[in-house]
Amino acid sequence: MRRSPRDSAESARKIGRRGLLLGAVQAGAVAVLALRMRSMQLAHADEYRLLSEGNSIKIRLLPPARGLIHDRNGYLLAGNESNYRVTITRQDAGDVAEVLARLRRLIALSDAEADTILAEIRRRSPITPFTIAERISWEEFSRIAVNAPALPGVTPEVGLSRVYPRGGDLAHVLGYVGPVSDFDLGRIEDPDPLLRIPRFQIGKVGIEAKMEQALRGQAGSRRVEVNSAGREMRELSRQEGDPGDALQLTIDYRLQNYVQARLGEESASAVIIDVTNGDVMAIASAPTFDPNLFVRGISSATYRGLNENDHRPLADKTVQGLYPPGSTYKMVTALAALEAGVIDPKETIRCPGYVEVGGRKFHCWRPAGHGNMNLQQSLEQSCDVYYYDLSQRVGIDKISDMARRLGLGQRHDLPMSAVAEGLAPTQAWKKRRYGRDWVIGDTLNATIGQGYVLTSPLQLAVMTARIASGRAVEPRLIRSRNGVEVPAPPAPALEIDPAFLVAIRAGMDAVVNAPRGTANGSRVVAAEMRMAGKTGTSQVRNISAAEREGGVTANDDLPWRQRDHALFVAFAPVEAPKYAVALVVEHGGGGSAVAAPLARDMLLFALYGKLPPLSAYPESQRTRIQNQRDQMILVDPDEAPPTASTRA
């Protein structure tokens, strides 16, 4: 071994004794710890549990102010207002009925309300505060605060609540907020403790929902000392949260207000976008509703009224509504044919009023026929037979490919709820979907925007903007976030021969400005403001996704419901396009008679930035336009500022 025999027996014995002693000390200490644990966790657990539940120092979360939303000119679209409310805690109140009676001398409460509240309080836990009244006035709030000594258990509280100062004008764009529901908690994987705050509001639909993370902000916290009854005695420390991001939309509120007012109570929708950069200037669905109703708690009767209305005010038709585009689709077919080289713009096709394909007759809308048509004339007079012929030459797949390049049949990434994809059908799609082969009749239907083709007003607006600008513009809704511009790189040029686009634009010009154009009645006479467009009248009702699942085959098989949808797409000015509009009036009748005049008014308002001078309209129409204006109520955001209580 390596060592001297110094490790004698004596040493070992000594270490053994001291080691044992050390072990005993350690064992004793462990026993003390165990006993202490037992005493705290078993003998006195209840006391500590009580202390923990009624912990005299409580952390209260401070809900952050939700991010404000403005329009492109800085008008407030969604703000926050102080919400004064009064709560009662039964345990502290003692005689609830007596306290309530005293409270009723200070704030307005009907007998029925008081009875309901009394019954409700008795049912609830005695220690949780119960909200007696919300949105009480500042005067009522201060009256209660002053009389606090006479009102045991009653607490006046102040919180922030979302408010939409523009009411229904942007209901579908902004959506609305509501208290977090159990459904929300189950659906979203979001550990943010803010969501656990009772009555905390989160976005339910629209931008409020899609931009929830940005708008919500970060919670602050404060440490308060509370008494055993849970009433706050004093605030110990406070850390403010970060308010949510402020958003600026591309929407021009004045225009939006005008468009909404112009659509009125029709079941209709309109989208106006800037063809140069895709900014959505206005996007309105009618009829609309007041989103503030949802924030404040909508009554079931009102909700039922909205939900059962056959004009579907709750639906956002601009992005969710899918319609057969009707003749507005003819630009797509024409561009596909031009690109495939199967037609020359000057070439004429004779329209006898119908064409027979595969043993079936396909009619032109004009039974007598149009005679010889070239490309420009075919658009101008919306000849169906010309396009029946074209479609057979070019085939459905090329048409649908062109549709997608123009922005149809694809989901545009806007922060709105349930943005629909639409449909630009192909042979492979039908085979996959229905297990049946594509037939030539399908092509003929599709080519005039019927049959399987489905588009949303947003997509039609994008299509028009792309045709007008020659660029693959993408729509966008958020202009800046916390004052920082959202970058909008210039859209790449469409990979379409500019000469073809010029031919199409000439055709759309003719639709409005040529004497035989289908929308000639809606022409603009002001120089440099002239409009080009295309009418559409689609002969089927709005096909829901469910119906498509069920297997709608051809237009003829569909049940006929009331009147046609009226569509119109347009851009202006013709010489240097600035804005594009797409408009759909459900069951409105003909596109030229119903949709075109509305679209003209909206485009002119966008171009002038205000109501256009009457001189922009053809002379014969000015009196009628004036009359119609007299009946319309518009909001001037400069004269009607949002309520004073609205704040950041």
């Binding site: 071994m1 390596r2 060592r3 110094r6 490790d7 004698s8 004596e10 040493s11 070992a12 000594k14 270490i15 053994g16 001291r18 080691g19 044992l20 002693l21 050390l22 072990g23 350690q26 064992a27 200490a29 462990v30 003390v32 710890l33 165990a34 202490r36 644990m37 037992r38 705290m40 966790q41 078993l42 006195h44 657990a45 006391e47 500590y48 549990r49 202390l51 923990s52 539940e53 912990n55 005299s56 120092i57 952390i59 550990p191 440490r223 000392e225 110990l236």
Partner: protein
């Protein structure tokens, strides 16, 4: 003794040593560390990457270090004891001169990617040095004044350096850890009696010096003492930690509130919830059952150390094992005593459970020494 020991005259050599490692101890240490991972996962609100994952990596590294150290013969470590002590002393001086200031104290030394707390190293180096000293010292001289003075200096020099940081908790740990080794080595009980008397006098002096020009401790250290004596005196300031910790612990009850259900820690009532106060979360979420289980694991580690030390005929190995066991004991006893309100708040982590790099790795390496002593015991 396992079956393999039968008939062996000398310690095992080569790879066969692995078979002589005390595997139950490895399992115990791993079990304790797993409790730590679980609690770190819980206090991070169910996220593993915040604390649990780095802790696991360090545990892996520490375990590797433990095995390497265990394979090296214990007599080599004995010969390196003085060197280790000197190295640790240099580190302590370095940290006083160049160390990082964290939480009002200079404790950390940045060595490349490593963030080292030299006082942790010193705890083990001191035990090694004292064990080597008593191994060398003629046993009859153990209680002579001059031969007691030498180890006292060995203890007090690093203690003074640690106090200068200032880190009262670690300084006390060094004194007590060193004292326990001297006790085990057989130093006369008279010395300990005298020391205890002097200690009482020193405490009196420290308390007396408060507010005078020769004040011995920092203000925050006095406040901790006040708070220990009466936590209710300042429930929101200095007493806040201890009050909240006790509420968390006590409210756990028999079986606790359940994993990840502790309201005290979840709602951020608890300070330092991932380091010094992690035991409160365990006690709140797993209750008495959980707390006692962890305490039992710790007690079993101690029992192993004492058994191994007493059955080892090598004096250095015995003293080292006892000393490391005692240091380990001081860690968890002081930490638990603190959160249970039995001791004043001093910054001592819960060994192998609290989040913290150096403490865990050094402790595992120390157990490597214990294993080496066990593997290479004379037979």
């Amino acid at each position: 003794m396992s079956l393999l020991d039968y008939g062996l005259r000398s310690p095992p050599t080569g790879i066969r040593k692995v078979l002589y490692i005390n595997w139950p101890l490895v399992v115990l240490l791993s079990a304790i560390a797993c409790v730590g991972f679980l609690m770190l996962y819980s206090v991070a609100g169910g996220r593993i990457e915040v604390w649990a994952e780095p802790q696991m990596k360090r545990f892996g590294a520490g375990m590797a270090g433990m095995f390497v150290i265990a394979m090296v013969p214990i007599w080599l470590w004995r010969n390196l004891s003085a060197l280790a002590y000197g190295f640790a002393l240099l580190l302590l001086i370095a940290v006083d001169l160049f160390g990082d200031v964290g939480m009002g104290a200079q404790r950390w030394l940045e060595l490349g990617p490593l963030r080292l707390q030299p006082s942790e190293v010193m705890k083990i180096a001191l035990v090694m040095a004292l064990a080597a000293y008593y191994d060398w010292l003629d046993i009859r001289r153990t209680s002579r004044l001059i031969w007691v003075a030498i180890p006292a200096v060995l203890i007090l020099v690093p203690t003074a350096l640690v106090l200068a940081q200032p880190d009262l908790g670690t300084a006390l740990m060094l004194v007590m850890g060193g004292g326990l080794v001297m006790f085990a080595a057989g130093v006369s009980l008279w010395y300990f009696g005298t020391l205890a008397a002097l200690g009482v006098a020193a405490v009196a002096a420290v308390l007396q010096s408060r507010g005078t020009s020769w004040q011995l401790l920092r203000d925050y250290q006095y406040r901790r003492v006040d708070v220990f004596l009466d936590p209710a005196s300042d429930p929101l300031g200095a007493g806040y930690n201890i009050t909240q910790a006790q509420i968390a612990l006590g409210s756990g009850g028999w079986a606790g509130r359940g994993f990840m259900q502790g309201t005290q820690s979840r709602l951020n009532f608890l300070p330092e919830k991932h380091t010094d106060f992690i035991f409160t979360t365990l006690a709140e979420e797993f209750g008495f059952v959980g707390g006692i289980s962890l305490l039992t694991l710790y007690a079993l580690v101690l029992a192993f150390c004492i058994h191994s030390a007493l059955s080892n005929k090598d004096r250095y190995a015995s003293l080292l094992t006892l000393g490391i066991g005692a240091t380990f004991f001081l860690y968890f006893a002081v930490n638990m005593g603190m959160v249970m309100g039995l001791l004043p708040v001093v910054g001592v982590p819960l060994p192998l459970v609290s989040y913290g790099g150096t403490a865990m790795m050094i402790l595992l390496m120390a157990f490597g020494l214990v294993q080496s002593a066990h593997v290479h015991r004379p037979r």
